[in-house]
């Protein structure tokens, strides 16, 4: 098998999406930690358009953008599939995956803002959670059905990163009693061995996010 390399940065949830997919499929890879304040020449060479992590390099050929990387992994290593076989169900899985991409800015707004903008972000984020609870997840254990799928990986950050964000912001967004299905999904997701064994260390994450929020709030005032 050709060499697989992942350029990522802890604790980016986008990095972790790729780690989870590789681990779920049992694909060996070499991990390269990038310092985002000092991006390597190699990263810039592999992703000249966006200059971001994660980038997967397979046999020397780079693939960028986390969801596109996941689709590539799914097509190249079909074991433990992340997408259903049936076309309509695949379209649904891709819909909820894209929903995660589209709404990441809403949660980012919750994290980086204060005042009126923050209040709006809370309202928008709660609406997203409502849609996920009632229409996205429904009665299923995972978005992927009985096993973890593409949409679960795309939303996976919420099971672990959201709590840290809430602690840093000092505001609780997600109440288990308000979103019982999502709450159960989060617990189930974190129990999956490939996920459980591949989560960033919480204290480090907390310190990182605290620093990030301070910088973001300060820059929005000036």
């Amino acid at each position: 098998m050709e060499e697989v390399k992942l350029f990522g940065a802890t604790p980016s949830p986008f990095s972790y999406r790729v780690i989870w997919a590789l681990k779920l499929k049992g694909i060996p890879y070499e991990y390269v930690e990038e310092d985002l304040s000092n991006k390597s020449a190699l990263l810039l060479q592999y992703n000249p358009v966006h200059k971001k992590i994660p980038v997967l390099v397979h046999g020397g050929k780079p693939i960028a953008e986390s969801i596109i990387i996941l689709e590539y992994i799914e097509q190249t290593w079909p074991q433990n599939p992340l997408l259903p076989k049936e076309a309509y169900e695949r379209a649904q899985a891709r819909f909820w995956t894209k929903f995660a991409e589209d709404k990441s800015l809403t949660f980012y707004a919750f994290f980086r803002s204060d005042g009126e903008e923050h209040e709006k972000a809370i309202k928008d984020a709660l609406e997203v959670l409502r849609i996920l609870e009632e229409q996205g997840l429904g009665e299923k254990k995972f978005f992927g059905g009985d096993t973890v799928g593409l949409a679960d990986i795309a939303w996976g950050w919420m099971a672990y990163w959201l709590g840290v964000m809430e602690e840093v912001v000092g505001k609780k967004l997600f109440e288990a009693h308000a979103f019982p299905r999502l709450h159960e999904w989060m617990e189930n997701f974190k129990k999956v061995p490939a996920i459980k064994e591949n989560l960033p260390e919480r204290n480090g994450m907390l310190a990182h996010f605290k620093r990030q929020r301070e910088i973001l709030i300060a820059s929005s005032i000036s």
Binding site: H58, I63, E65, A87, R90, K98
Partner: protein
């Protein structure tokens, strides 16, 4: 076996146009339902649209045998997977496919928004949008290279993703008082080449209607 295929759409929508091109490339017969635009610019959402796309309440929506599929590139991928007997839009090689998805995603992330920065502003405020649009189009020209189409010898996923936005160039250029062809001649040549394809001309937005829409929004939001 007759399969019911219905498309909820808006003729000026570049996103709906992507689906129309894909359906035409595959020779799929379908029922077209145009949503209503009030005052040339406000979508009057039908109850069918709200029922079929409750999450986003947007077109296009493809309804196949009663089941809705939303989000233009997801619809195009669905069409490619279901009607896989002719005119493949995505490459079968995983790496080539990832590249096609990357550039279609790039179009989605950048082009429409850059265009909006131009027509939702005026004067000096348009400059950042114009600069960024040209930069992005030049990157796409680089990706096209010497190929006749992004898909190689035939229309592919990226061609389908980008081509409808060409119909919005007239609005961008007129509002921004600049020429895209002067900066990106290769891309404009590519668009002309695509228009010679049978599936394309009737599937594209009418650039004058697009311009009317843009003018109405500018008026309504106080830009004009």
């Amino acid at each position: 076996m007759a399969e019911a295929v219905v498309l909820l759409d808006l003729s000026i929508s570049p996103f709906g146009s992507r689906v129309r091109i894909a359906l035409a490339e595959k020779g799929i017969e379908y029922e077209y339902k145009e949503e209503e635009l009030k005052d040339k610019s406000i979508l009057n959402k039908s109850s069918l649209l709200l029922q079929m796309n409750p999450v986003h309440k947007k077109i296009p929506v493809l309804i196949h045998n009663g089941k809705p599929i939303c989000e233009s590139l997801i619809i195009v991928q669905y069409i490619d997977e279901v009607w896989n007997d002719k005119s493949p839009l995505l490459p079968s090689d995983p790496y080539e496919r990832a590249q096609a998805m990357f550039w279609a995603d790039f179009v989605d992330k950048k082009i429409f928004d850059c265009g909006k920065k131009i027509w939702m502003n005026k004067g000096e405020e348009q400059e950042p949008g114009k600069k960024e649009l040209i930069e992005c189009l030049k990157l796409l020209e680089g990706e096209l290279g010497e190929k006749p189409y992004f898909g190689g010898d035939n229309l592919g996923f990226v061609d389908v993703a980008l081509l409808p936005l060409h119909s919005w160039f007239y609005a961008y250029e007129t509002c921004g008082n600049f020429s895209i062809e002067a900066e990106c001649p290769k891309l404009v040549a590519w668009a002309k080449r695509c228009m010679e394809k049978e599936s394309v001309p009737n599937s594209l937005p009418n650039q004058n209607l697009v311009y009317d829409y843009v003018l109405q929004v500018r008026k309504r939001t106080g830009v004009e």
